[in-house]
Amino acid sequence: MASQAKAVQLLARQFFGMSMVDGAVSAERVGGVLEYIEKTSPANEMAVLREYRRLIAIEVAKGVAVVEHAGAIGDTTLSSIASAMAKKYSRAVTATAKPNPALLAGLRVQIGDDVYESSVAGQLAALASSV
């Protein structure tokens, strides 16, 4: 069971490696990998595809800054956030807006595993945990 899971992970990682061009995910390569999987039907195809999707999703998330906001947000703010993140992480970053009234006011930017928070809800939570 454990070796089967390992084999799935190994294969998914190989496919993931093939999908990268210059340190970024290439949609064209991904298409090629999917075509290959469909044609050859490797063992545990579903598990391999799921793991492959997870790895690609993690990589894609590193290049997308999800900007959660409570009030209105302009395109200029989004683009300035995208350029600041691109500079910080030394890679191409796009920003997408996601309204979140639970923040009360301010912003919360998620890129990959990192979260940058400057919101009233975040400050209230920090205050609550320190009391």
Partner: protein, 508 residues
């Protein structure tokens, strides 16, 4: 002037509204106190992570695809997909004198309903043990108040002495007796106003114990007036394995505070067998490779790094450890017992047979040893009890031999009778430790043959009578033994006279 203030306030406002960076992940699975998390790419080994609902965790497995964390606290609210964040901190617990007299959980939170712990300092739970240079050899005694131990298997401040035996052989009782004795010594010492007196503070760590047992321990300590010098860290059988795994390290951190601040402390780990079982459970869920008895490969390091933290530091204080191990059917060659035996500086082995014969504490003199030896004894104890271990060993050998025949020479008979009396003399009820000066007096009486005319069956009664005689009528003599710490000719004469006086009163 006001513009300058405004500038500073603006700067402060900028800082307080600056974005906070957090590294996050999401729970993939939660089971038996262990969570597997996607993400947390910046997490460090042993770093504290924050779960929703105030539960915290420690990152133990850093893998390519996921992070394995033990969860401390209530895991019932956690679910798949919940966000977890790194904290950049190591797990710490409150330390200091404010914890004395309190019962706390593995994280130092009070569980005794006596309100919050007013502690201002915290220590990390996991710490590297003191190195070679800062250590000092063990030479100061730590009296347990149990005659069989103090006279034959002496324990010193900074030593690690294992208490090992089957279930129900009185392991915890020995540990509790020792804690009670420290409290008694502390009270006498502090009342005397002696500036050189160093009190010993105790920490009792209950791992995987029944809650009723912990309550009983607290009650025994409270009744003996020892709770005010004791911290109780409780990770009962009802707590999740992560709390049971971390509790001994939390207790060690609390003890280290006393040691680092020039005080002496005693820590009891009750017991490390259940601690190893909790760690095995965590390791198996974390999918770490299992070895002998399904324990993970680092189970030795689990206990060695804990027990190495007990030490006597040069120019500072000491931390003495009394780990407890429960054996199955007296098997000391099992995995965990042999590990802990090799780590500690000796062991007190308790035998079920002796316990059932009514010899309590059921200390097996042959298998028990203290590697520190007589350097942790006061001179008076060495003078009266130096040969006891040899005499008892000889008695056991002769007693086994004597079973085959009834014709024994007078010398052998005398040796057997003497051995029988020593065994009786070492019987001691639970939770009533004897002060060292009283032990010296009783052993002196035994060495001078005052118990020889008394029937073996009546030795316990005679010893109790002698103890009560000394405590009620020879208080000054006991105080002199306590302060001098050795028997000179004058003291010996006084003791001889006192014993004669007792003999006359006992015979009457």
């Amino acid at each position: 002037m006001s513009s300058a203030l405004e500038q500073i306030e603006q700067q402060i406002a900028k800082l307080s509204s600056r974005a906070v960076k957090k590294n996050t992940g999401n729970i993939r699975t939660v089971a038996d106190g262990v969570a597997k998390i996607d993400g947390l790419s910046d997490v460090m080994y042993n770093e504290m992570v924050q779960f929703p609902g105030n539960a915290i965790g420690i990152a133990l497995n850093l893998e390519e695809n996921e992070v394995g964390c033990v969860v401390l606290g209530d895991i019932s609210q956690l679910k798949e997909g919940d966000e977890v964040t790194t904290t950049g901190k190591l797990l710490s617990v409150p330390v200091g004198k404010a914890l004395l007299g309190r019962v706390v959980d593995a994280l130092g939170n009070p569980v005794d309903g006596k309100g919050p712990v007013n502690s201002t300092e915290t220590y990390p739970v996991e710490r590297i043990a003191p190195g070679i240079i800062v250590r000092k050899s063990v030479s100061q005694p730590m009296f347990t108040g149990i005659m069989a131990i103090d006279s034959m298997i002496p324990i010193g401040r900074g030593q690690r002495e294992l208490i090992i035996g089957d279930r129900g052989t009185g392991k915890t009782t020995i540990a509790i007796d020792t804690i009670i004795n420290q409290a008694k010594i502390n009270k006498v010492g502090l009342a005397s106003g002696d500036k050189n007196f160093r009190p010993v503070y105790s920490i009792y760590v209950g791992v995987g114990q029944r809650n009723s047992n912990i309550v009983r321990t607290v009650a025994a300590l409270e009744e003996a007036g020892a709770l005010e010098f004791t911290i109780i860290v409780a990770a009962s059988a009802a707590d999740n394995p992560a709390n049971q795994y971390i509790a001994p390290y939390s207790g060690a951190a609390m003890g280290e505070w006393f040691m680092e601040n020039g005080m002496d402390a005693l820590i009891v780990y009750d017991d490390l067998s259940k601690h190893a079982v909790a760690y095995r459970q965590i390791s198996l869920i974390l999918k770490r490779p299992s070895g002998r008895e399904a324990y993970p490969g680092d189970v030795f390091y689990l206990h060695s790094r804990l027990l190495e933290r007990a030490a006597r530091l040069d120019g500072k204080g000491s931390l003495t450890a009394l780990p407890i191990i429960e054996t199955l059917a007296g098997d000391v060659s099992a995995y965990i017992p042999t590990n802990v035996i090799s780590i500690t500086d000796g062991q007190i082995f308790l035998e079920t047979d002796l316990f059932n014969q009514g010899i309590r504490p059921a200390v097996s003199v042959g298998l028990s040893v203290s590697r520190v030896g007589s350097s942790a004894q006061i001179k008076a104890t060495k003078q009266v009890g130096g040969k006891l271990k040899g005499e008892l060993a000889q008695f056991r050998e002769l007693a086994a031999f004597a079973q085959f025949g009834s014709d024994l020479d007078a010398k052998t008979k005398a040796q057997l009778e003497r051995g029988g009396r020593i065994v009786e003399l070492f019987k001691q009820p639970a939770f009533s430790p004897s002060p060292i000066e009283l032990q010296v007096s009783v052993l002196f009486a035994m060495q001078k043959g005052f118990f020889d005319p008394i029937e073996v069956k009546k030795v316990v009664e005679a010893a109790a009578s002698l103890k009560s005689f000394f405590t009620t009528r020879k208080d000054a003599l006991l105080a002199e033994i306590r302060t001098k710490g050795a028997l000179d000719k004058d003291l010996e004469a006084k003791l001889q006279a006192a014993c004669e006086e007792w003999k006359a009163s006992f015979a009457a």
